[in-house]
Each structure stands twice: as C-alpha cells, then as structure tokens.
C-alpha cells in the first residue's frame, strides 16, 4: 500500500513538472521578444544619438540584455569586428540563424529579424529612424501574438500535467 502511494506521488510530481516545462516554453517567447525590443531600443539610441560604430553599438546591446537573446547581438558584433570580409546583412543573417536553436523564437520571428539586417547601419539617420520604427512595430505585434498563445497554453499544460498524472495513477494502480 505504502509503495503504491509512493509510486502515485512520484508519477503525479513528474507529470506536473513536464507540464510546467512545456508551459514555460510558451512563457519564454514573449519574454525573449520583450528583451529583443529593449535590445533594439538600445541599439537605436546608440546609433541615432551617439553615432557609435555599429560593432561597438551591438556589443553594448549584448551586455545590456538577458542572455538568451544577447547571443544574437554578441555574434553579430564579433562577426563585424573580425577582419572586414562580409557585409552587415551577411553577418547579421548568420548571427540570427546560428542563434535560433537556443532561443524560443519561431520561424516567423526569424524572417522579421533577418529583414531588419537588410538596412541596418546602411543609410543616413533619417532612414535609420524609419527602419527602427518598422522593426519595433513588427516585434511588438509578434509579442502580442506570443502573449495570447502563452495565455491559452500555459494554464492548459500546467493543469494537464497535474491532471494527467492523477489519471495515470488512478488507471494503473
């Protein structure tokens, strides 16, 4: 009897944890999109008000925001600081693509980010302002969408974890 009770508790706890883990992944994406927005905001300030060179500006951003997202900026900054071989667009695209595995961003987010690299640093300040406005709008939209998905799924997977554990326990014991 005691063994059965113990086994039941173990099953419920582990399935709850699985539920929380899945729910967390839905929570991560909006958080990372928010980090991305603050990163791009810092980049905009560096470019428009301080006229810092792009590699330096990207490096500053990578220091200022959370780890998961900063890796994109860090890779781009390192790529540009190396001996001049590739264009901003090439380096940025590579940085985004290489970082996809370790972030919760989706394919849709990736396309938006890569498009951002097309005009980054490549024109006068006036055009850069418009460029930044566009990307901020797009990411904001993605964040709202991601937030909706999170609300829908986070609770679902959490309760599913607990309830599923209970169901399994009842069935097998």
């Amino acid at each position: 009897m005691i063994i059965k009770l113990f086994l039941g508790i173990v099953i419920i706890i582990s399935s709850t944890m699985v539920g929380i883990a899945i729910a967390n992944r839905y929570a991560m994406r909006p958080a990372q999109l928010r980090a991305l927005q603050s990163g791009i905001n810092i980049l905009q300030t560096e470019i428009l008000y301080f006229s810092s060179p792009l590699p330096e500006a990207l490096h500053k951003v990578s220091k200022a925001i959370s780890d998961d997202i900063s890796i994109i900026f860090n890779r781009a900054s390192k790529g540009l600081m190396e001996k001049k071989r590739y264009t901003i667009n090439e380096v940025w695209t590579r940085a985004v693509e290489d970082s996809m595995d370790t972030t919760a961003l989706t394919e849709e987010d990736k396309v938006i980010l890569i498009n951002f690299g097309l005009g980054l640093g490549n024109s006068d300040k006036e055009s850069q302002v418009r460029h930044f406005q566009l990307i901020m709008e797009q990411i904001k939209k993605q964040e709202v969408k991601a937030e909706e998905i999170r609300k829908k799924n986070e609770k679902l997977y959490k309760s599913l974890g607990v309830l599923g554990g209970m169901a399994i326990t009842v069935l097998i014991l």
Binding site: P53, P55, K83, K84, T87, D124, K125
Partner: protein
C-alpha cells in the same frame, strides 16, 4: 634648387618600401571587398610604393594613378593600359567598399557624405561622388556612391628640415610664412613635417606649442579625432574645422605659438590672420598657385600680401617635381618689398 626628400630619392631603401606597402595594404587594401583586395595584393611592391591614387568607379575598370600616370589593373593585379582587359568594378563591390570604409556605420558619416570625402584609419583621404541630394540649395548627402578616389598620402619625415632656418627670425621667433605650390607638389606634406619639426623641436630651436586647423583632415589625417600622421608632441589639432573659425578658437583657448593651416584664400581668413598677428601668434599656411606673381593676381590673397603680413614666402614645385623648393622670398626689415633669397 633645394631638394627636399623627393619620394623617389635614395633615402628610401627596400626596408622602407616594404614597410610602406605593408601600411598601405593594412589601411587601404583591407577596406576593399575580398576580390579587389586579392587583386591589389598581387601588385608589385614597387608599384604599391609609387601609388598616388586608387580609383573605383561603378561598372568601370579598376584604375590606379602612380608617378608614371594612370593605369588599369587586370584581375591578376597586373598593370594594363587596355581597359577591356581590366577588372570591372561591380555595384556590389562599391556597396561593400562603402560599408567597410564606414566601419559598417554609414549613419555616422553624415558630415563626411555632405562634404564629399571621408578619412580612413591611417589618415588616407577618400573622395566620393554619386547622386547628390539637395536641401535648401545645400548638399545634404550623397547617395548611390559611384566613385571612390583613395589618395595614398605619405609622410616624408624631414622634408621641411631645409626650410626651418629660413622661417626663423631674431630670437628664433617663427615668422609668418606662406607656401605657394601647384596641386600635388607636396604642399601638405611640407606643412605636416613643419608641424612635426616645430612641435618636437629641431637643431635650431626648442619645440613650441603648435596648433593645426585641419579643415580637410589632410595635414594630420585624423581618424575619430586622433592624428594618424606624426605631427609632433606639442601639437593640438582641430579636425574638420573651417579655417577662420578654427584659428579664432585656437587663439582663444589653446594658446598656440604657431598656427598651421592649409590653403587660405577666403575673405574671412584675412580677419583671422590679422587676429592671430595681433595676438602674437605666428601663422604658417599655404595657397594654390604656380609662382609668386601668379598668386598676386588673386584678389583675396593679394589683399593679404599687400598688408605685408607674411614675412617669408616659399615657392614649391614650379618644375613639376614634387617636394622641391624653387625660391624663398623674405620681407626685408626696413622696406616693404620682398627679396628673393634663394632662386633657381
């Protein structure tokens, strides 16, 4: 005729050549796209050493200008005079070059694009042309860059040594000096070396505080405000500042003993010159022209000369040989006329 460090002279051994071409490779070739970089790297060391300009024009052959005139370069880095065999610069090459030269930060070059040139690390000047965007009849920026003219400047250390004794007056005071020279005959090179010699000190005098007003970033070749050429240890540089304005700023706040600036010739320069004169600051400057008589015909310059502000006039490169002094005129102490003390 005094010979002052002509760039072809014996003073440049093989070691110096190798060093120079290393510098050019690092500072100039490495801001080009990879394909053009490898073409230029294939060029002969002697050819690199004689380079004066590298020219990139969109959809046109890659061109260099050296002492023997202008030539095209083919895809293997060899000189050719047949433009059909030359490497043709693509639009992509141009875009990459601009990004590399701008350190990926074209937004930071607004002022440079407005004026039509930028300065590379190492002090090399790059002239630009393309589609000009106007705003209220003033150039706002240049877009779709269609040509780059990269000027390979060189420091000729010691080139101003022979003229030092001529510009020193009693008590080793530096006299107001005007250098007259046709373009590309070493005007700026000499001003740069004068700044270095006066600031570091030389065998005639201790170093003095030197102020350079470098309107076109050619004397000191500043990159992000730091002089890339050796202009001496007691030298302050106002980079990219209009001459008249810069001279006034210098006089007010930096207390130089000598002000060095390039190419005077505008009305407001006269006022600044007089201001410097009244504050007891010596001015060394230059003006475009073939000889003394030629310069006298230019109204603004004549206004200055008439006032006998300049005590020494130095004429360079009359015979189309860069870096040679042709004549030196000195204002005599008791009369108002210039006397030629060294002539051809």
């Amino acid at each position: 005729m005094l010979i002052m460090g002509n760039i072809t002279s014996y003073r440049y051994g093989d070691v110096c050549k190798a060093k120079f071409s290393q510098r050019v490779k690092k500072d100039v070739f490495d801001v080009m796209p990879l394909n053009i970089r490898s073409i230029l790297y294939n060029m002969d060391t002697d050819l690199i050493f004689s380079l004066e300009e590298i020219r990139l024009r969109v959809y046109k052959p890659l061109m260099i200008v050296c002492q023997s005139g202008n030539h095209f370069i083919d895809a293997n880095g060899r000189v050719t005079d047949n433009h059909e065999k030359a490497y043709i610069v693509t639009k992509e090459d141009m875009e990459r070059t601009l990004q590399f030269m701008a350190e990926y930060s074209i937004y930071a070059l607004e002022e440079e694009l407005r004026l039509g040139y930028l300065t590379l690390k190492g002090g090399y000047r790059v002239g630009l042309s393309g589609k000009v965007v106007l705003n209220n009849n003033e150039v706002k920026t240049i877009k779709y860059i269609s040509s780059f003219n990269i000027r390979i400047s060189r420091e000729v250390i010691g080139s101003a040594q022979p003229i030092i004794p001529h510009i020193l007056g009693s008590n080793n005071r530096i006299l107001h000096t005007l250098i007259i020279s046709p373009p590309k005959m070493g005007k700026t090179t000499i001003l740069r070396d004068l700044a270095r010699l006066l600031s570091n000190g030389n065998k005639y005098m201790k170093g003095v505080k030197v102020g350079i007003v470098d309107e076109r970033s050619e004397i000191a070749g500043c990159y992000q405000g730091v002089p890339q050429n050796d202009v001496g240890v007691r030298t302050d540089v106002l980079d990219g500042c209009p001459k008249a304005l810069g001279m006034m700023m210098m006089i007010r706040s930096l207390s130089p003993e000598v002000i060095i600036t390039d190419e005077i010739g505008r009305q407001e320069d006269i006022y600044a010159l007089e201001e410097a004169l009244n504050s007891g600051i010596s001015v060394i400057t230059s003006v475009h022209g073939n000889d003394f008589e030629d310069v006298k015909r230019r109204p603004v310059v004549w206004q200055i000369l008439k006032k006998n502000i300049f005590k020494v006039i130095i004429v360079l490169g009359k015979n189309q040989v860069p870096g040679t002094i042709d004549s030196i005129y000195k204002l005599s102490n008791n009369s108002d006329t210039y006397e030629e003390i060294i002539g051809v």
